[in-house]
Structures are given as C-alpha cells and as structure tokens.
C-alpha cells in the first residue's frame, strides 16, 4: 500500500492504535464474526474515511473506535492507553473528553435549545456553568450558528441541526471526531456544506474519522480504509495529483 508514489504521509503522534482486534456476536444460535482481525493506526490530524458495504463490519469498527463497545480480542490503544481493559465509567470518560460523535440522525435533545444541546458534554465533564455557556457559544459561532443559540432543534433546518451536532462534538476539544454517515439524512447541497465544514475543521488541525458508504463523501478524506467481511480490504492514502485537483475545487 505504502508504495513509492507521492503521497502525504501522516506525521503526527499516534492517537488510535488498533492491533488485530476481533469482535464476535451471538445471534440466536449462530456466532457472527463481525471483525476478524483488523489493525488500524490513526495519527493526529488525519482525515480518514472508513468505507464498506453493509455487513462489512464498518459499524462494528466504528463502535470500537468510538469506545462504545470493547473488542472480543486484540488490543486497542487510545493515546497510549489500552481501551480493551477499561470499565464502563472509564469508557464514558474517554467518550466524553476524547471523542466527538456526529450521527446520521443528528441525535439532538428535542426539548433543549441549541446552546443546551452543545453544553451537554461539558456538563458531563464537570465544567462550571459560566465556562460552559462561553465555550458552547464560541463553538456555535465557529460552525456558523451564532444567531441560533436559543432555537429548539425543530426550529432548525437539517443542515443547521447537523451543525449543532458538530458543535456538540467539538465543544470538549476531543482528540478525534467520529462521524457516522453525517450527510445521510441531508440533501446533496446541504451535504456538501457539511463536508466543507469538515474540511475546514480538518485544516484547523482536527482528526476526523468518517464512516460512509458513499464514494462521493469518502472522496473528501485524505485516506480511505475499505472493509469487507470483517477484514481491511484496502487502506489508501490520497496521492499528490488527487490532492492538487482537490485544492482547485
């Protein structure tokens, strides 16, 4: 994979170091091997797309990376700590501080306004009310929603809702942003806007992992990991010509 072609090699410190992890599920009387030995290393300020058809283990891998689930076997190092051995509260703390989730269905709290939705991870982190409001407001301004602080989710468009969700993911300054089909519920124009926001975040130094089955969306990432039947099929870095063509658009 790492051939002699010109490409941008990741250089930052390793954030995610997955070594040969497997995950088995028991479904009825059958054991499903969702992951059969996957290794993946992600450096700081990478922009990765994880692709694969349904049933490829893509969601399972995302759950592992997001510390929502623990592997059956293998090692998962997150900033040098072994996640596979953590208990529920430690996992919750990692999710709170190190990972920013962006979901396909936005998953905003319907009865809370924009500001309160974005403040939620700060509450779980034990940040005091003044700092909370200040940081949530600043993050919302950063994603272009400075004038929507007191709107409820049902008063916002789909694109705006996803921006709130992205602000919520960013507000605790996590090590990675984990986006699961972030444009899946949006029309293509709004989807492009969201993707350019991700591009912006990447350029500002964030690490982004994008889970998608759409090639158009995956094209925005600098590195693409393809899964099939619980194994990594390919792991490609974007080449320099590709990068150049991207810069033109």
């Amino acid at each position: 994979m790492m051939d002699t072609r010109d490409s941008i090699r990741p250089v930052g410190p390793v954030v995610i170091d997955i070594e040969n992890i497997t995950k088995d599920y028991v479904m009825g009387e059958e054991i499903v091997h969702a992951l059969r030995g996957v290794s993946l290393r992600v450096h700081r300020n990478e922009y990765i797309a994880i692709m694969g058809p349904s049933g490829s283990g893509k969601s399972t891998l995302m759950n592992m990376v997001g510390c929502l689930d623990t592997p059956t076997s293998g090692r998962y190092g997150f900033n040098g700590r072994n996640v596979a051995e953590m208990d529920d509260d430690e996992l919750a703390a990692i999710r709170n501080r190190e990972i920013g989730f962006v979901f396909q269905t936005f998953n905003l709290l319907p009865r809370a306004n924009t500001l309160r939705n974005v403040e939620l991870p700060l509450i779980y982190a034990g940040v005091d009310p003044e700092t909370r409001e200040e940081r949530a407001t600043q993050t919302l301004i950063d994603v272009g929603l400075g004038d929507r602080l007191h709107h409820k989710p049902n008063e916002l468009s789909g694109g705006q809702r996803q921006r709130v969700a992205i602000a919520r993911a960013l507000v605790n300054r996590p090590s990675i942003i984990l986006a699961d089909e972030p444009t899946g519920n949006l029309d293509s124009k709004t989807g492009e806007e969201i993707m350019s926001l991700f591009e912006d975040l990447y350029r500002r130094g964030n690490t982004i992992i994008l889970v998608t089955h759409e090639a158009d969306i995956a094209r925005h990432a600098r590195r693409t990991v393809r899964l099939r039947d619980g194994l990594i099929e390919s792991d490609d870095l974007m080449t320099v010509p590709e990068l150049e063509s991207m810069a033109l658009t």
């Binding site: 703390a93 999710r95 989730f101 979901f103 998953n107 709290l109 009865r111 034990g126």
Partner: protein
C-alpha cells in the same frame, strides 16, 4: 462533587421539561400519588384529631380527681365478681371528709358525693330525653372543669336545703330554650319543677360517643327525694397534689375500707378509678385504629407508586435513543440512573405537594362545616408527607432507572 451538582441540576431541568411536554401523562400519573397522599394525610389528620379529641375528653375528667365507684373503668372478664358488690352510697362522702379532716398531711382534699340517673326534661312543649340527672353538693364545682355560659352553680344553702334549682348543660338549654334565656325559668324533671340558675358552656362529647352537654345538675337532697330508684352513686375525691396520685389512691383505699368496715383479709369491694386507667384501656383501641387506617390508605399510595414505576419504564423505553446519545457524549451509568430517579421523584413530589394542598383544603372545609369534628393538621404531617412522596419516587423509580443505566450504548443508539 461539583460535577455531581451540575448533573443534579441538569437532571432537574430535564425532569421539569419532561413533565411539561407530557402534561396529560404526568398529570394522570401524578393523580395516583395525589390520591394516595390525600388519603394518607387525611388519615393522619384524623388520627391526630382523635388523639387531640381524646386528650380533650380526658381533661374533662380532671387529672387530680379519683372516682370511687362499684365498677372499674376497664373491661373485666369476671364481671360477676363486681355485680354483687355492695352499692356505693352518697353518705360515704361525709365519713370520708371527716377522716380527711382528722388525718394530718392528708393527700386528699375533699370528697364529693354524686348520684346519677337518666330522665327526660321538659319545658312547655319541648322535651329532651335521656338527660343525665346528677345530684350533688355545691362543692362539686371544685372538681369539675366547666365554665358557665350564663348564671351560676347552686350555692351551699340551696345545696343543703335541697331547693328545687338546677344547672343545665348546653345541649339541654339549646333544645328547650332556643331563643330565650333559661335563667329563672322552671323546667320539669320527672314532673317536678326545677328553677334554672345556671347554664354550663359547651363541653363537647367524650370521644364523640356521648355528649357531656346533655346534663342537669341538682342539689343532692332534692335528687334523693325524687330519683332514688335505679340511681348510681359515685364519690369524687379531689387530690391535693396530682404528682402524688398513687399515694392519694392508697390513702383513699384505706379510708374506704374503713368506711365499709372491711376486715384485713377481705379484698376491696369498690373500685377507685382515675383518668389514667381510662387512658390505658382506650390506648390500644386508638392504636389499632391508627395502624389499620394507615395500612389501608398506604395501599392507595402503593398503587400510585406502581403508576409512577410504570410511567418511568415507558419513559425509559421511549427515550432509549436519547439514553444512547447521552452515553456516547460521556454520561456515566450513575448519571443516567440519577436522571430517571430524579424524574420519578419530581413527579411524586409534585403529586405530594398537590395532594397535600387538597388535603389541607379539605381539612379546612371540614373544620368550617363541622367545628366539633376533631381534625388536626400539623406541620409534622406536612414534613412526613413530603418525605413519603420523595421516598415513593425513589423506590418506584429505581427499577426503571437502573435498567436505563445498564443499557448498552450501541443497542440504545440503534433503537428506533
């Protein structure tokens, strides 16, 4: 600690928002608790009302008076042993008073003879049946606790002379003289005219069983002249120092044995009664009423608690995805547990406060409509009710909150 406080205040906000957005559902669920709290509070009020009424009724008997009678003031299994006792005679009072006067440092102050019978009392066309006619002496006033609405008690002269005068109870006056003053009017008791000299102010009833206002008091000689048949005598003895009631009782027993001329080997053939004895007989009855009442009303609160538990389970189910999202954002198990516990508790507390308000209003209305009904709304009761509703919320919310906190984040996020 700070983090816990933030989570707590966050949970409160969610709980309030949740109740607001599900108004109908919250109201219906809270209704169970409201009914439960109303029932428990009213029962508590009634019980403490009974207690107050009981104490009030007891006070009428005076805690410094001993009652010498044929029967003891308690249930006896061997009633036949008491039935054949010699009757108490009003004359004993004189003997007792002589001996009290001769005893240095006696614990007893004075003995008052009384004799009672039930008769009807008439004035013009009005008649009251079953009135307690009591014959006694003018010193009777010393042993009793009542005040006069009008007039006075009969004096020593009238008492000794057996004048046809009487003091009537509040109910008798009310029935026979609805608009006019009874003073100096003549009422007919057993066909004999008695001039009214005083009206006793309202005494209420003894535990609501019999009225203490349906009474006529007349001088003893007059009583003996007209009503000796089927009358029952009782000697009231006032004690000097009520802290030495036991000594006084022993002394009185000795004097009574002397009056009756009992040889040492014979048992007492009379009973010396006191307020305390009555209390110890009635206390177990009062307590079993309290326990049974609280148990039954407690059941209604239990049904309310099941309602809360049910609705919290529904709430957890409905918001499974939200729980998943919160977990993904870093909510720990404890946080989720706390959130749902607070929701169920807030609902119960709301029900409790509304229920308490209702109960208070009902108590107030009952108090206005039936002033004699012993009802007592105490601040202790308020505190206990609030505590009970909070506990109900915590207990009924625990199982659903626990199941919410144990949800697997992956499954919860995928839940539609």
């Amino acid at each position: 600690m700070k983090r816990f406080l933030y989570e707590l205040s966050e949970s409160w906000k969610i709980a309030v928002a949740q109740m607001r957005s599900n108004m109908t559902r919250s109201t219906l669920t809270a209704l169970g608790v409201i009914i439960g709290i109303v029932a428990v509070t009213l029962m508590g009020t009634a019980i403490s009302g009974i207690q107050v009424g009981f104490d009030k009724s007891m006070a009428i008997f005076g805690d410094d008076v001993l009652y010498v009678g044929q029967w003891p003031w308690k249930n006896v299994d061997d009633w036949w042993n008491y039935r054949d006792r010699k009757k108490i005679k009003t004359e004993y009072a004189e003997g007792l008073n002589r001996m009290i006067a001769m005893t240095p440092n006696s614990n007893l102050a004075i003995a008052i003879p009384t004799s009672s019978v039930y008769r009807s009392v008439k004035y013009m066309d009005s008649e009251v049946n079953n009135v307690l006619i009591r014959g006694t002496v003018s010193d009777y006033i010393i042993t009793s606790t009542f005040d006069f609405k009008e007039g006075r008690f009969f004096n020593e002269l009238e008492s000794r002379g057996g004048a046809n005068v009487c003091v009537i109870g509040y109910d008798v006056a009310d029935a026979l003289f609805p608009s006019a003053s009874p003073i100096d009017k003549s009422v007919l008791i057993n066909g004999q005219p008695f001039k009214v000299v005083g009206v006793i102010s309202r005494q209420g009833s003894f535990l609501g069983l019999f009225s203490l206002d349906s009474i006529v008091v007349i001088p003893l000689p007059a009583f003996q002249k007209y009503f000796t048949a089927k009358s029952e005598a009782e000697i009231l003895v006032k004690v000097k120092d009520k802290t030495k009631l036991a000594d006084a009782k022993d002394e009185l027993a000795g004097l009574m044995r002397h009056v009756r001329g009992l040889p040492p080997e014979k048992k007492d053939d009379f009973s010396i009664n006191e307020q305390q004895a009555l209390k110890s007989t009635l206390d177990p009855i009062k307590n079993s009423i309290a326990v049974a009442g609280l148990f039954i009303t407690g059941l209604s609160l239990f049904v309310g608690a099941i309602g809360i538990m049910n609705i919290t389970f529904v709430s957890v189910k409905e918001r499974t995805k939200e729980i998943g999202t919160r977990k993904a954002l870093g909510a720990r198990r404890r946080t989720i547990l706390l959130q749902f516990l607070i929701e169920s508790t807030a609902l119960c507390l709301l029900g409790g406060i509304i229920g308490l308000t209702f109960a208070f209003l009902m108590c107030f209305l009952i108090g206005v409509a039936f002033p004699s009904f012993p009802i007592h709304f105490s601040s202790k009761l308020v505190l206990v009710s609030i505590l009970v509703s909070v506990l109900t919320g915590l207990i009924s919310g625990f199982a659903p909150a626990w199941s919410a906190s144990r949800l697997d984040p992956v499954t919860a996020l995928r839940y539609e």
